[in-house]
Symmetry: none
Subunit: 417 residues, 2 copies
Amino acid sequence: MRPLRTAALIAVGSELLRPGRSDANGDWLTERLGRLGIEVVARTIVGDDAARTATVIVAALRAGDLVILTGGLGPTEDDRTREALARALGRPLERDAEREERLRAMFESRGRTFRPMQARQTDKPRGAEWVDNPLGTAPGVLCRRAGRLVIALPGVPAEMRRMFEDSVAPLASARAMGALARRALKIGGRLEASVDEQLRDLYGTRGVDVTILAGHEGIELQLAAHGADAEHARLALDALEREIADRLGDDLYGKDDETLPVAVGRALTAAGLSVATAESCTAGLLAAALTEVPGSSAWFRGGVVPYADDLKPVLADVPVEVVARSGAVSEDVARALAEGVRRRTGASLGVGITGIAGPGGGSADKPVGLVHVAIAGPARTDHWRLLHVGDRALIRRRSVSFALDRLRRRASEREAG
Amino acid sequence: MRPLRTAALIAVGSELLRPGRSDANGDWLTERLGRLGIEVVARTIVGDDAARTATVIVAALRAGDLVILTGGLGPTEDDRTREALARALGRPLERDAEREERLRAMFESRGRTFRPMQARQTDKPRGAEWVDNPLGTAPGVLCRRAGRLVIALPGVPAEMRRMFEDSVAPLASARAMGALARRALKIGGRLEASVDEQLRDLYGTRGVDVTILAGHEGIELQLAAHGADAEHARLALDALEREIADRLGDDLYGKDDETLPVAVGRALTAAGLSVATAESCTAGLLAAALTEVPGSSAWFRGGVVPYADDLKPVLADVPVEVVARSGAVSEDVARALAEGVRRRTGASLGVGITGIAGPGGGSADKPVGLVHVAIAGPARTDHWRLLHVGDRALIRRRSVSFALDRLRRRASEREAG
């Protein structure tokens, strides 16, 4: 029998396409199938339309070994999943007389009127099997096609989950290929293309799939390993992670839910250092990011936001003549901000940021996106000149991520000063 | 030309299929297309696989008049959207030599290495058109097929949204049918239940649907009206908006994209006032929120973040004995922070915030969630004691929203001092 490695999910229901709604059944199935070692490779939400749903089922059968539909199995006119299944498979829809009798008897035993439309729930494509629904009236439907499985379950979460556990999981796990384990590795201060070039030959080795993603906090490598069981999958991830860590060295700052501020806090704590910030264009975003971390008061002293130019001397001891000579957005001012706030707060390290976030305020000489970052310690001050692409929010966020990454590296040096 | 009534959305990216992830771009596009009168009839998430993505594109072209893909346009090997498009349309992928030169020049002008793989971003299916990306390096691609449109946009939300507004919306609205008009009305400093009670009898009147939502910045009323054309729909919204505005008075602070910081800036500008901030538990979040607004330097002077208790006297002139007597989280310290930063920066108004964001640091007397906010002007200082529910991030965000709303109201008073 063909093994089940991949699944495609289809949620049927026009209400799920409204703004603000989400496909919670699909979220649950993705998680649950992953634990069975079956990877969800596509998810679709489609409205209550038989022709469109049939089209989606045909595409899903090309994408995955297992197709699971949720929703559209009720008794009313807008429940079209049975009809869509029959169309997609090119088989007629047939009523199951025995099931119809059972359903009628069930209704009558509860004193409810059995309406003709209820009988629609006992239609299925020729050759399909029923999937029992212990919690409701709409049974599920299972069809086999060239070693692949298509299963339709109700959209009511409790019914769907119970039917999955009772009927689908045993079938799927018998034909699955072990377990799937995932891990995210986080990389700071590098461009996506350069990381990709450095690591590309490792992708797919040791049976681990690697996806590379660029976000505001840096680059993320997503590792996924299939194994005979969870332990084997984890060992494959561990082995590849070691190889990647060897190559990346300091560029790797954390994994899974570890954020860049968490990595900064860890580095400062390990080195016994504290930090303070002086921010102009980012105006408190760096201080706010650092203090997202619970317990950050152990290593974050405080900061100043000298947004108006005349406050740079007042709040951060930037000499008036430096602002006048070099301009507020300059290397000299970034250095003076870092050194000034360090002295004033008594922190081990001071960070200074000044730049032009736009949309106004740029010139040929100093364009929008120009940002100067400096980090001052007891013995030296480092400086970087950045030229960011993006709008105001992106320029500010990218400046903060850059400063966090440099701060993490500085704190990890043997002599941070 | 064929009108655009329906759309199918495809989000490309294996990371979006991981448990816990969602397709935020699709949510935004569904909302935005709805306002143009275009109904989203199917949404698919597919991993970074060209063959599967091509299959999904073919199905989407049967389902919708307009197909929008997001993601998979980056420079690396796992960015396969261009290739999938070419496969789905049965056209060869061709490199645009002129675009390649432009991209190379852009990289070189910024002092970055242009790697060969970057050039992949200048491939498109034969006959396709480019969609410019003003915020990033990956351009979008537009293909026409039997009166239907397929458009591929980057997955970075800011880039995607900007490209949609600049290039896709004008095209789509020119070919849409009838019109759906939406408007969001924003309300500050009120609870959802009380707004709902006050306005409930207006819901559904004048043919306008009303949905009420509670967010971090306050309450939002979402109004939606269908009309024969955009003008009719807009007039229905205008009429209901006037009735709502009459009832809410000052509580209504803006509409649509107007954020609370924008409303604060407008009020300060109208009154000719400036502001400065002294933040302890929110640690720069308020200053960062105020400076999200372009041009905020006209009314935001700057701020201090005296996070460590011994910096409250140093950075904001809070008397040492006040911290010692009342504790760092107290009404007295909030008032002293507001007054101190106001004096030190020369701003018209000063805002002070001190509190316990948790998870640690709470006591029976001063529990996690306790926050003191003060606003100082030339003649008086106002104070509020808040007790927030929520985790660290929520407590900080709600404190900032509260301070912004109070600042907006104070600036709107005849005598703000």
